[in-house]
Structure formats: structure tokens, C-alpha cells
């Protein structure tokens, strides 16, 4: 996977949402997800639902039970990282990684139009989410990045994080 930055996406009262951005691409993965579906007649409403859900969770706290992580997609993968989950509006998925009640990292997503994400139109984003999750989880385990309250910092204490 190419190197990517972890950048702040939006800071609500109870949750700081981060996103990921490839260093050679203009927009973050979550911005790309929004731009792809915001004008869609078919999926625009589901995107609205997901955005509303993000705002609601931002105000309540990222309770573990708000996130569906038993979806077959995740169980099928070798790395059963428990924090990995998805926001879903009907069959539209936005993949994410819940790190704590106050930190969630948003990725990209797409339409799940087959029984599994691997077979769906969103398979690329699904595997990318898996790869992002793996890199971030490894970085946390190695101490390359740390959780400081509701802020992600690198080992030097900087909020500019490139993995």
C-alpha cells in the first residue's frame, strides 16, 4: 500500500473523526466517498443517513455497540480486527476503524451489491479499509503512533502522521 496521512476529518463534542489520505491524491478517502455519492439519485439519501449518523455519534460518543462488526465481510478476512466496522445506509457502506469512544478513523466505501463485499462493487474500498486498518493497528502496537486522550499523535507527539 502507498503511504498515507492520517488527518483530522471533523471534531465533534464527544468524538474526533479522522480520515486517511494518500499522499499523492488531492482529497481524503472519506471526502472521495462523499463526492462520489452526494449527487447520486439512488444513493444520495443513504449517504445523508450515514452523514447524519456520523454527526449523531459525534455528539453521543462512539459507543462500541453502534458499530456493526459481525458483518460477514469482516469475518471472512484473516485479520479479525475487532475495531473494524462499517457505517451502513441500506447497501451503501462507509468503512471505519473505531479506536476508542472518542476516536474513529473513517475510510472509503461503496455499494455492497453482492452477498459479500469481496464480490461487490465496493471490493477495492473494502480491501483498502482492511489494509489501512492493518497499518494503523500495527503502528499503534509498535508505538509509531499513540492515542493521547482523543488525539492521535506520532511517537514525537506530532499530529502530522504519515504511515
Amino acid at each position: 500500500m502507498n503511504s498515507f496521512a492520517i488527518t483530522e476529518f471533523y471534531n465533534f463534542d464527544k468524538v474526533r473523526f479522522y480520515t486517511v489520505q494518500f499522499t499523492d491524491i488531492e482529497f481524503s478517502e472519506t471526502d472521495r466517498f462523499i463526492k462520489r455519492f452526494e449527487s447520486s439519485d439512488k444513493y444520495g439519501e443513504f449517504l445523508s443517513d450515514i452523514l447524519s449518523l456520523i454527526a449523531q455519534i459525534g455528539e453521543r460518543g462512539a459507543q462500541d455497540y453502534y458499530f456493526n462488526r459481525n458483518e460477514n465481510d469482516f469475518q471472512a478476512l484473516p485479520n479479525k480486527e475487532k475495531a473494524r466496522a462499517a457505517f451502513q445506509g441500506e447497501n451503501l457502506r462507509l468503512y471505519c476503524l473505531r479506536l476508542s469512544n472518542s476516536i474513529v478513523v473513517l475510510f472509503n466505501g461503496g455499494v455492497k451489491d453482492a452477498p459479500t463485499a469481496q464480490e461487490s462493487t465496493c471490493s477495492i474500498q473494502f480491501y483498502e479499509a482492511f489494509a489501512f486498518t492493518k497499518r494503523i493497528s500495527e503502528a499503534l502496537r509498535e508505538g509509531t503512533i499513540e492515542i493521547n486522550g482523543n488525539i492521535l499523535v506520532d511517537y514525537k507527539g506530532s499530529t502530522d502522521i504519515i504511515l
Binding site: I34, D49, L53, A55
Partner: protein
């Protein structure tokens, strides 16, 4: 820096989407409260409902568009309300004749001291 794309898109979100998200999480909060009270895991709940764990997990995730039928099944298993309309709530709570509240009325400073301190303490009456 906050995402301008997100902010712009969030400002255009319809009122019904906001209500849907809010009520979805209200329901999840209520269900999880009931599960904690009963000491049930999702596995326990799935057994009581006769459903698979993955189906229950789907029900209990973020934006699952829960049908009234599903809510009814959950209410039946918990034997408690998850959804209640304002009219029903008013009918139910207006039938409560009294709510026990402990109050203490202070007739004077001396009276206050008596209530505040140990019974054996002697006090001086205020004039």
C-alpha cells in the same frame, strides 16, 4: 482542518435523515440498556429471539432500518417498552398518583440544626 466537503454535505442533509439517525441510536441505546439490565449478551438475545447472531448484530448496528415488527419482537422478549408515543407516555405517567420524595421542612434555625446534627446534640433555640 475540518473537512469542507463533509461540512457542506452535512448542511444539505434532510430533516428526515437527521431524525432517522437520532431515533436509530435512541433505540440502540434503549436496547443496550435493557440488555445490561438483564445481563444479556447479543448471543443471549439471539437465542431468545430464535435468530442467528449475525442477524441480531445487523439489527443492532448503526442505521439498520428496524421495522415495527422487529421492535415488537424485541419488546416481547424484554417485556419492556423500547418505543413509546408521547400520547401513550402521557396516559401512562399521568396515572401515577404520587411520586415518593423525601422532604424536610425547616420551621426555624433551631429546627434546621436539629435535623442536621445528631439527635443527642443539644442546641440553642433561635429567638
Amino acid at each position: 482542518m475540518a473537512s469542507q466537503v463533509f461540512e457542506h454535505a452535512l448542511n444539505k442533509v434532510s430533516k428526515d435523515s437527521k431524525i432517522f439517525a437520532e431515533k436509530s441510536l435512541d433505540i440502540l441505546d434503549q436496547i443496550n440498556f435493557l440488555m445490561r439490565e438483564e445481563g444479556w449478551t447479543q448471543k443471549d438475545l439471539s437465542k431468545k429471539l430464535g435468530k442467528s447472531e449475525s442477524e441480531i448484530s445487523k439489527w443492532l448496528s448503526g442505521l439498520h432500518n428496524m421495522t415495527l415488527k422487529t421492535v415488537s419482537k424485541l419488546e416481547a422478549v424484554f417485556n419492556r417498552d423500547i418505543l413509546i408515543t408521547p400520547i401513550k407516555a402521557k396516559q401512562r405517567y399521568s396515572s401515577i398518583k404520587f411520586v415518593p420524595v423525601k422532604t424536610v421542612v425547616f420551621k426555624s434555625v433551631a429546627h434546621f440544626e436539629e435535623k442536621r446534627l445528631d439527635r443527642e446534640f443539644t442546641y440553642n433555640k433561635a429567638s
